[in-house]
Subunit: 213 residues, 2 copies
DNA sequence: GTTATGCTGTGATAGTTATCACATTGTTGC
DNA sequence: GCAACAATGTGATAACTATCACAGCATAAC
């Protein structure tokens, strides 16, 4: 994989994630090769956009033929860094945290949720998902450090989000995916992404409101 | 509200959603007025960006002073169309669907989840959340039409996503928020947004991988 | 071989979005 | 009333992203 010096558009990364997803489903034995046109149809992205996205990272296809489906899938997984399992933890095992913990897809897709934390005494010690026992939030720093956990997923209420963020950071976490609707602060060494389900709905409401006019 | 002719950047809408969120929390009686600088600090957006975002829709502030916190909150809710309750339904009451059904925030924020549908006979007839009973998926088209449901949230497995989409469309749904990792097809009259939690994690993995190099 | 064919890879271009600097205008103090 | 001030609103500019058209290259046909 050649990583060119260019800064890569965030939209490109998002699309690469989509491509991987579809390649995994489209790649059958009877379908060993795929063109940017066919992949684009599934992903609802223009063929040129797909080729441009890939061109940031190197040359993966064969001119006149297309892309080896399995090989391209592997290459994109390399690019995204989901070709190995990131040790991951879920903090806040409420409704949303539970859904994520039970979402098997992550397991086969580059992430391994190995621990879960909560502050509720009634939850501590119970099993959250296959093989993951909920631990006390007071252990989190030590545990993140000892188990070399790379990624923390925050699904606590807003009020607790900054506090658990700080604890994760103190434990040496590398990246955080935050579902609480607040912009938590992290040092520059830690990578942060916020997921806002609410704003997706808001956006839908906006589009519907526009259409009415 | 003056809506200027310009096309509004999608990023602007996403930020407006953030602004509303913070305004709701920042607006206290002791804090009736807020400047773009202070709001920007909370939201981690530059003051100029906030002013530009708002300027697409009109003039909401007072020069030399700032914005009336409560009034600005209401104005943005108007713009986004979350100033009334959109009748909403959740299709597929699994782990994720349940989390959304129990997420009270939506209720006070422009959306009212009034029905839920599933295909699992063991779930049909049980209560999914406060006051919402799970109905059979076979009733969905009729129900969407009769209860004038505007928004459908899809949280079924991939295999069922296109099918339930079609049923929602047939019932006259206006907008769909799709959590299944597949690009479902809808007619132009229906507004669609896809939420990809997986791609957020992939993006985080990518950033972490970059940082290591 | 040579030519025709087809799909990739990419430079050039158009379109979109963010940033900046400052003109504008309401407020406060004297 | 007038000057000094403070924060908004916005045109101009820079940065970024997507689209397009076609050159480049492997393959297939003969
Ligand atoms: N449920 C949704 O559909 C949804 C959607 C979008 C965003 N969110 C956000 O995700 C977060 C979680 O939502 P939820 O519906 O799962 O809430 P929830 O109340 O069901 O779960 C929160 C969990 O966090 C635990 N917790 C509280 N303080 C803690 C602390 N200091 N340390 C560790 N754990 C702590 C609680 O014990 C509870 O188990 C919230 O911030 C919410 O705004 C939820
Ligand atoms: N759980 C997560 O954290 C998560 C994260 C991202 C995306 N997703 C996506 O969200 C969707 C739901 O995930 P989940 O974890 O809640 O799955 P789940 O298996 O817990 O729930 C799926 C539900 O859909 C119902 N269902 C199946 N076919 C149906 C049909 N034809 N009509 C109506 N209902 C039907 C099932 O009975 C079940 O209750 C999946 O597509 C998944 O990929 C889930």
């Amino acid at each position: 994989m050649k990583t060119k010096e260019h800064k890569i558009p965030e939209a490109t990364i998002k699309r690469l994630s989509t491509y991987v997803n579809y390649l995994g489903r489209l790649g059958t034995d009877s379908n060993p090769v795929i063109s940017s046109e066919i992949l684009g149809e599934s992903c609802q992205v223009s063929p040129a956009q797909i080729r441009k996205d890939l061109s940031y990272f190197g040359e993966f296809g064969v001119r006149g033929v297309g892309y080896d489906t399995k090989k391209l899938e592997a290459e994109i997984k390399d690019i995204l860094g989901i070709n190995h399992n990131w040790p991951t933890t879920v903090v806040g095992v409420g409704k949303l945290g539970q859904a994520l913990l039970n979402f098997d897809f992550f397991r086969n897709h580059g992430f391994r949720i190995i621990t879960a934390f909560d502050s509720d005494p009634n939850k501590i010690g119970t099993e959250a998902a296959n093989g993951v026992t909920i631990q006390s939030i007071s252990n989190i720093e030590k545990c993140v450090r000892e188990e070399k956990i790379s990624i923390g997923i925050i699904t606590t209420p807003v009020a607790a989000a900054q506090d658990v963020t700080d604890k994760l950071v103190d434990g040496g976490i590398k990246g955080i995916l935050n579902f609480a609707p607040i912009k938590v602060k992290v040092p520059e060494t830690v990578t942060l992404r916020n997921v806002s389900i609410t704003s997706e709905l808001d956006n839908l409401a906006y589009l519907l409101t526009q259409k009415k006019r």
